[in-house]
């Protein structure tokens, strides 16, 4: 019995060591940059969510991020108080205890009344925007793109003179996923606005994998919907993919440094599966 306990303890230590050793997180390039993490489709409450959340917390020691953006499907299944605890508050406890704010978008598995849940920082709105230094984030409800939301988006985009304009929401406008694929309907409505008003980067979830799309009309598109769920092998060869990763859960770390956005994508086990730079779009209306 003692022998068995010893082996279990050794195994736990070994797994922990491997886990830390495998973490390929790069530190930020600049100390004055805007830094945030990206998680999508996270709210399962299962082991995968907790392991990704632990990687995320660990990565904050190397790459101190100021906030986390959530790309929807924040709480899967029932939404009782204990579900909020199990599927959000406990896995991200370390970050919440550090007062790192989360800014959520609604996914198709989310009750729109999540907008009233304070830790999601939605201010009671299905769609909203917020500012971080010279960056404006536009958070959309892609489940229900009605005329009100379109009008709001156009007004917010046209009023913003921020250097960086970043949009995020649940459904990807471009995707190589076999299960869902590109949201063409939504694309025809919002992409012309993104182009017109100089949105540089768009993040989405919904697909349970990571995909960096080849730039489309000057915009960098990322799908990062694998912070808990995984659709192993779902990425198809569509010609859209600059980099894809669908064999393990993942999340992203992002840094806005002047006119450059540095990004890195980490797997559930802490391996860096993608990294690179995006240069912001400079159009009329942006600084």
């Amino acid at each position: 019995m003692r022998f068995r306990s010893f082996h279990i303890a050794a195994l736990v230590i070994a797994i922990t060591v491997v886990s830390y050793a495998a973490s390929d997180v790069r530190p930020p390039a600049s100390k004055d940059s805007v830094r945030f993490a990206v998680i999508g489709d996270s709210g399962t409450g299962d082991r995968a969510e907790y392991e990704v959340a632990r990687q995320l917390s660990d990565s904050a020691q190397v790459f101190p991020f100021e906030f986390v953006i959530m790309l929807g499907d924040n709480i899967y299944g029932s939404e009782r108080p204990q579900d909020f605890q199990k599927k959000f508050e406990l896995p991200y406890k370390t970050l919440l205890d550090l007062n790192i704010p989360f800014y959520a978008a609604l996914g198709n598995h989310d009750d729109p009344n999540q907008r009233y849940y304070k830790p999601f920082n939605m201010g009671g709105q299905r769609f909203y925007s917020f500012q971080r230094t010279d960056t404006r984030f536009f958070v959309l409800d892609s489940n229900y793109m009605d005329k009100d939301q379109q009008a709001w988006l156009e007004k917010e985009l046209s009023n913003s003179t921020s250097k960086w304009k970043i949009a995020y929401f649940h459904h990807p406008l471009y995707s190589s996923g076999a299960t869902h694929g590109s949201e063409v309907d939504l694309r025809t409505i919002v992409e012309p606005l993104f182009i017109k008003y100089g949105v540089s980067v768009v993040f989405a979830g919904h697909e349970h994998f990571y995909e960096r799309i080849k730039p489309q009309k000057g915009i960098a598109y990322f799908t990062s919907g694998g912070a808990a769920k995984l659709r192993d092998g779902d990425l198809q060869n569509t010609g859209l993919t600059a980099k894809g990763f669908d064999t393990e859960q993942s999340f992203m770390l992002v840094e806005l440094d002047g006119d450059v956005m540095h990004f890195q994508t980490l797997s559930r086990r802490g391996a860096r599966v993608d990294a690179g730079d995006v240069h912001r779009v400079i159009r009329e209306g942006t600084q």
């Binding site: 299944g77 029932s78 939404e79 009782r80 108080p81 579900d83 909020f84 996914g107 198709n108 598995h109 009750d111 729109p112 009344n113 999540q114 009233y116 849940y117 304070k118 830790p119 201010g123 009671g124 892609s142 489940n143 229900y144 793109m145 009605d146 005329k147 009100d148 459904h171 869902h180 694929g181 949201e183 063409v184 309907d185 939504l186 025809t188 409505i189």
Partner: protein
Amino acid sequence: MRILCAACLVTLSAVLISADHRQGQQPVNPAGAAALEFHNRVQAYLAIHHAAEGKVPNLGNTSDPAKISEREAALGLAIQALRPGAKAGDVFAPEEQPYLIKIVRDDFAKRSAKARKALIQELPKNLKVDVNMVYPTSLPLETFPGRLLRLLPDLPPELEYRIVGHHLLLRDVKANLIVDIIRDVVPTIPS
């Protein structure tokens, strides 16, 4: 001159009275009348929604998710109590339904089988939905296609359209309540 003016006034009055009379009997554009009826019924539902909201505590931002779910359930119960005999067609006015059905079917006809399937794939088959029923809280809401939404009549923020299976739903967003249904709107996807 005075006689001439009086005659003119009489003639003008006769013309106006005749115009008024004709207006009273003027044929009405049926599509417009149907849209107006739907609008009026939406407004009548909103009055119920607001009356129900007056009976439950206000909801602001809260860190306690219990307050959110309790308020949602309480609002749903209050609305159910205010429309106990609610049935399909109460808000989706019967005269408006053919127009709504045509809009949805025409839109779906332009979509590929894959795109149509994607719009209804997340929900279990044979999911039962009914008027005045709470939308199942553990199930996702299918994304409503944005282009179709542009074609349908506008709704106030308290209400939204949803597709469940082959049915078009009107859903109360804050109460998570199914307000009305038009069944078998969405055509079957050819295999």
